[in-house]
Subunit: 451 residues, 2 copies
């Protein structure tokens, strides 16, 4: 280990210069005006990885190019596929940036730039760790690298291409460094992500908004119909009342519950931050179990009738609500969505017409089993390098491309990232500290030593 | 009766000229730019009534002036207070008018102008009937006339002044001609109006909109809380579930139910017009009973979270709904409102903050008892003049000033109006047919003959 630590110290100035170069590309994927910057950035990434001794290619797609690279290694070791992205979020509002977002600037041990952390910074410590390992002649497995260019706007090329690339992406472990850690200096393993499906329910009543005096009590009010339907989606104990919704759901194991209970997340602080008590979801689970290990059905929006100042005595012609569901392991997204849609259609009352539409199947959940071999490897690496037990975190959010990539590559996802709240990703003054960068580098080198 | 009919025929051309003059005032109460036109119109009305042999005054108020007039008559007869309004609705969109809205134009037996029917036309046949009766030396009761100037924008001066004017307004019968008839040639007695109270319920959740993945299942979603609260306001049979809501409600009598069942309203046609079945309200009452004789609780608007195109996976910070309740005789508006507000506050779930506000107490309901003496007089008048039984109509809408005026004056309201759907009140090309005008004139003369 001493070799790679010394390598870091001798080369850190160059690392920062290269990292700044990487951050100089305005690779904003959401804005077509920056398409060419994305193309240039992909070329730069390919050349950089190629210089490490990889066979590296740019894959052109209908949208943004991807970089794929491979380096054959010890076939008796578990092979690794690393996934990251070179694209970044837009920078508005520009006036809130202390320095230029694409001219990376070092202040007080932090590098400030769009993408400094998400995901260029976390990709770059991975690449520099590989460089060090290769330089010292480490016994490495076969390593594949896939860096895409539209993670920030839906991973379209990945979603449509994955099936065709399956063979080339085959690996045992899918390494991702696009997550965060709960406490500085203690790496966090993201044990799961939830899946997501969405729909919109629309209730049509009278042909036009009508007078609530003249017609009140005569026709069924679409808002009343909608609120009654929506209220029937949950039970009083916070669980979801749709028959079949929980079909296949993997119940949290005792081991998972113990790890969740061990979380350093301060719930009191979270309540203060949010300004409410943590009183949502299923009462028989703790707040963190509910977030990471249980599915939800949330109403993201509702609208109907008059919403301005004062009153307007109408029975509206229309009301609608937007629904999203977070799924956990064992649930099939399309099937769960169909179950809820069928239920909504079934409970539609007489006197209104109900339509469910605007379906979006984001993707399935994934959850690392507590006995997973990959998890043991990560723990050993972290223990040996940081002399701590890692934190385990079940994320409530969804990154649909990861379960999809895991399925296509046959690899087990291992998500260990070094982001912190203070990095302000997606916001002005995004940054990544050199300390976090180095911790990431140390983790990656340690990982490849114990694999 | 022959005398007043002949009087109409001999004077109808002059009637129309005077009526056109009345319609020439741009007495739009909602628009301060026309304040002076309202003042001029009130002066004209005062002079006109004065010329009929009344003592007539203009009452200045903080907003629009009112005209009050009185003519002493036979003290053994029931005294009459006539209420109407000289103000009119705005005229936009002007380009949809066939002729100028304030230059009354006769086409095919209809007079086209803003206010032609609502309410200048219906006020004017009343005045012309009085003129004829006075000319032939009819034995009239004491008659008072109150013509206000802001019925179209909330009757503010009336609402605040009524208590102080009580003594001068005292009468036995409150005549109003600001309603419509169901079938041409058959006068309709409006037997009741519903009262109205309003409020807004607001549900506050987390300090800001938050990620529905990260926090889904952790905090209670304000939309979920709101829909659950709103759904609990009604029972499955369409009745209102708030304990105490029906306190004091006058149950429809068998006689009222029979009269309602006898209505010429074509429900099949109404369904076709509205595009929905008449499936709202309390299942144990018919559609027309529900409209006229039963209270309602309607959701006039609802809003929260994301309502744009596509999806946005947030748990919103806030959701709200606007509620209006139509009341029937026996319900006290302030008490019913308080009952509902208390209930909403009581069912507010843990994890959100609920506020009920934006209270509006429009006013109480009124209902003419089927045995009412006033009703018998109107029926006799209609029978004698038109040789038909009048239609009886319980309105679902509210005209809060009428119950308030009835209370202040001690008079029993008698609402017989001659409006039809085709008059297009409040819309471009408002009109009133000379036939309707004459029917109104005939009804008023007949009424004062049988009183």
């Amino acid at each position: 280990m001493v070799g790679v630590r010394r390598y870091f110290e001798s080369n850190s100035e160059r690392f920062i210069l290269e990292w700044k170069k990487f951050l100089g590309f305005r690779s904003i994927s959401a804005d077509p005006a920056y398409h060419h910057e994305c193309v240039k950035c992909a070329d730069w990434v390919r050349d950089h990885i190629s210089n490490l001794g990889f066979h590296a290619e740019v894959w052109k797609t209908a949208t943004k190019p991807l970089v794929f690279a491979e380096r054959k290694g010890n076939p008796s070791k578990a092979s690794v596929l690393f996934y990251g992205h070179y694209d970044v979020q837009p920078v508005d509002p520009l006036e809130l940036w202390t320095s230029e977002p694409f001219e990376a600037t070092l202040r007080d041990g932090r590098l400030y730039a769009r993408g400094a952390q998400d995901n260029k910074g976390q990709v770059f410590f991975f690449l520099k760790a590989l460089e060090a390992l290769i330089a010292e002649g480490a016994d490495l497995p076969t390593i594949k690298i896939l860096i895409e260019g539209e993670e920030e706007c839906g991973s379209e090329a990945m979603q449509s291409g994955l099936k065709g690339w399956g063979e080339r992406l085959q690996a045992d472990i899918l390494m991702v460094a696009d997550t965060g850690m709960l406490v500085p200096g203690v790496p966090t393993i993201t044990m799961g992500l939830r899946g997501i499906v969405e729909c919109e329910v629309r209730v049509y009543g009278p042909r036009m908004d009508i007078h609530s005096g003249v017609y009140g009590g005569v026709v069924l009010n679409p808002i009343q119909a909608l609120t009654r339907m929506l209220a029937s989606l949950h039970n009083a104990d916070g669980s979801i009342a749709v028959p079949g919704f929980y079909d296949g759901v993997q119940e949290p194991t005792a081991e998972e519950k113990a790890l969740v209970a061990d979380s350093p997340i301060n719930l009191k602080q979270l309540e203060e931050f949010l300004g409410v008590s943590l009183a949502g979801g299923e009462k028989r689970f703790s707040a963190l179990e509910r977030r990471g290990l249980r599915p939800t059905l949330e109403l993201n929006g509702i609208g109907g009738g008059y919403q301005g100042a004062g009153g307007k005595t109408v029975i509206p012609s229309f009301a609608m609500a937007k629904i999203s569901m977070r799924l956990v392991s064992g649930q099939q997204p399309q099937k769960t969505l169909s179950t809820v849609v069928k239920y909504l259609e079934q409970i539609a009352p007489e006197g209104v017409r109900v339509e469910v539409g605007d379906f979006r199947v984001g993707g399935a959940a994934f959850r690392l089993p507590a006995q997973s071999n990959v998890l043991q490897i990560a723990r050993r690496a972290i223990k040996s390098e940081f002399n701590v037990e890692p934190h385990c975190l079940w994320e409530g959010a969804s990154v649909p491309i990861i379960p999809a990539l895991a399925e296509a590559s046959g690899a087990e996802p291992l998500l260990v990232g070094f982001g912190m709240e203070e990095d302000k990703i997606h916001s002005p003054d995004e940054s990544f500290s050199l300390r976090q960068f180095e911790e990431g580098y140390r983790y990656v080198t340690a990982f490849f030593k114990v694999i």
